[in-house]
Symmetry: C2
Subunit: 510 residues, 2 copies
Amino acid sequence: MTDLRQSRSTLRVRRMGVDTSHEPVVYMHRDCAVCRSEGFESRSRVEVRIGRRKVLASLHVVHGDLVEVDEAGLSEAAWNLLRARPGDVASFTHPEPLVSLAHVRAKIYGHRLDAAGLKAVVGDIAQGRYSPAQMAAFVAACGGDRLDLDEIVMLTQAMVEAGERLSWNADIVVDKHSVGGVPGNRTTLIVVPIVAEFGLLMPKTSSRAITSPAGTADTMGVLAPVDLSPEEMRRVVEAQNGCIVWGGAVRLSPADDVLIRVERELDIDSEGQMVASVLSKKAAAGSTHVVVDMPIGPTAKVRTSENAERLATIFRKVGKAIGLKVNVVMTDGTQPVGRGIGPALEARDVLSVLQCRKNAPQDLRERGLLLAGAVLENSGRVPAGQGRAAAEKILDSGAAWKRFQAICEAQGGMRRIPVSRNRYDICARRPGVITSIDMRRLALMAKLAGAPEDPCAGIDLLVRIGSRVERDQPMFTVHAESVGELEYALEYLSGQEDIIVVADTEPPAA
Amino acid sequence: MTDLRQSRSTLRVRRMGVDTSHEPVVYMHRDCAVCRSEGFESRSRVEVRIGRRKVLASLHVVHGDLVEVDEAGLSEAAWNLLRARPGDVASFTHPEPLVSLAHVRAKIYGHRLDAAGLKAVVGDIAQGRYSPAQMAAFVAACGGDRLDLDEIVMLTQAMVEAGERLSWNADIVVDKHSVGGVPGNRTTLIVVPIVAEFGLLMPKTSSRAITSPAGTADTMGVLAPVDLSPEEMRRVVEAQNGCIVWGGAVRLSPADDVLIRVERELDIDSEGQMVASVLSKKAAAGSTHVVVDMPIGPTAKVRTSENAERLATIFRKVGKAIGLKVNVVMTDGTQPVGRGIGPALEARDVLSVLQCRKNAPQDLRERGLLLAGAVLENSGRVPAGQGRAAAEKILDSGAAWKRFQAICEAQGGMRRIPVSRNRYDICARRPGVITSIDMRRLALMAKLAGAPEDPCAGIDLLVRIGSRVERDQPMFTVHAESVGELEYALEYLSGQEDIIVVADTEPPAA
């Protein structure tokens, strides 16, 4: 029966040149023999094989003349995953039933997931077998506080096992992670060169933005290539003690990279999945000692110290269960760090700190030193209380800047920071003192302006809490690559209460 | 600013002839001016307008020559929703932020939804503003028992308000619904002609299958057109007292129709959403008295009488809150009703009952009479205990069959039942007595064979619990339109424990 099927269900493939993002799509004519004999319909899930490679794709049925009846079109994602070449013949079959979806349903119905169930779901996701809707159901079912500690540990382990795993010739491998929600908090690019210069191994893999205007990988991508293979990453770390690369390209915890795209579409990023996402990357990267930066503030991701304590406990316990020494550092999350919000603007701030420029944002410098110090202390190589000073010495000597340049060169060459084509200043409508800054809405504006897809888009913040402003003084600048996006961000602003609140400096005269 | 945008962001549209099912898709060349000035990327959500019509579409960016730089391709769903004509010019803008998604996130985080929140979400879904992933997150967030009674009432009301609402010139408008999970339970096609012949108004709108191999609308669709407009439906009911049409075509509770497609992809159908789905359709159709058929059995949707009682309570309470008199009838759900599973095979069984043929499945006849009797009694027009007899009299007189034919003619003409092209008998491997039938796996086989998309695909069940079989005697026949689907269903079977269990009739000799 199998032979019959294979002989019948093959078609020549054609590269359609359609970018459907990460979802593989197949285009078949409705009169095509495969379509008819297999009973495929629009949106059928179809397994496509070329040689030993296979992908699960969505079918779009063509009525007109976009494809011939004896060929199948492939979207860019399908073409690239199959490593297809012109003239290749592919076979098309119904996929095996997606058995692991039963675990997602069980979770929706409130049942606990076990290790085997999580492994099955995560494995299928990593192999691209879940549609966007099926992944969204998993994310929502596990969202909020719906995963208990054991489930988070098992999810973390399943995510590690679904991808590559690095190992290093060192007893101590350090790492850091910021929980996020604070725009501009780009300390990794400061911590890595300091720690690498100190002599510790810090093979850093970072994410692209989930719901923020820039992830560390987006900002580093402005300055150097970040999509390195595991072998390329290893060469950089062996030469420089550290690197800052995109985790997705090295296939560490690949399920996480797919889930992150769905979380972005839903604009959600929940506790259990956050811890699993962070620690699975660290474990897969071979880390042993991890510092977590957890900013707390009314518009940050973590809003109260109670939430911070609970989340910190999850981080420590899950870390311990999978063999990582995790130290959580609570930091100020009441306003953005540095000035820029968006990949290029943040990269500019980072360089000014590394170059020890006088106009460098002091808060970013301080945050970088605090965390670099915490990493040094958590490793046990620097006594408690002496980390910051050790880090400052390395930064102020210029050695960290040299090391950063060397890392960029090793990753493929340092790049020039691009500059936006459209800008617009938002000014104070009255004189006074800045009393609060809504980071969520500021971040949303940066996204509406095009960040992180357009690296030079974003916000340049010109004031801080406590700054005095005059009427019509610019408070922040919106940067965008296209006029349409600039308008889009400004339209959003026009319907909003003040994102930056200016209050009287003195009480009104009696 | 608005004028500038409109003049810049327009393109000639082109019908691509690509069927992307219900998701509207726009194809733009990556070098196209709109794409660049608006900063659109692959999978960007894009608002497309032609005249006063607008849709929210997903963008697929074209690298090759499928579209010119000065035109935008539209998928069939986008083309039809916009009622586009060749030569039309459409405008393309960033959609307004999807504010109602905040309520979905809140639900994921365990917060209760209020009326305004549910109305916002359901309204956006009914207007096609949610992507499949966003709808899946809503379904999962509200799945299991995560909606309380008030939330179910508010969800039901929101679903009614999001669509058309029918009203009838009658004090009593009756309806019935089967909860499902029992293949072949196609009693609606028997109940409607009996009740209509009795003289009560029964304007029945039915769903297509969610997770089953056939919904009532799929089965009725084999016998007559079911996608009638509200005006066409009204003419049928005014002439014949009853109809059996697809609810989606009359735009009653349109959000439900979209959600059902996502629930099918996830293979999930949860309690609160089920009640909201059912009763919103009834309320929107103008019903006042509703009978709910709730089959109970180990492989039915409702598995225990405790679950049945809980669900029945939700049905009655939500019904009362929105002004419906709901009566729940618990029925036997241990095995399929009738013989056929799949639209055409079920339609064949229904006709044999209406025609009072001797070989008609008696269980389907009995179930139809029981429910028709319950509908008559629930209306108050027939005293308690006398409903079944009244129904039987109408059926046996031949009047129900005449009425059914008249309804089919009024809906657009009675159709011939199609017959499958490929069949395969599954036989007993030993002699004995049938002790159990797994309806879930039988239904899954019918789906793998192509039901309900291929109406003649499905299963013909030749035995019942208690039947005696000999070795190699056929127990059921698999019907499929294509050889590929037949193989697909049989492959599934080969990896399974017995779907139908045959036990010894007598204990083995000592």
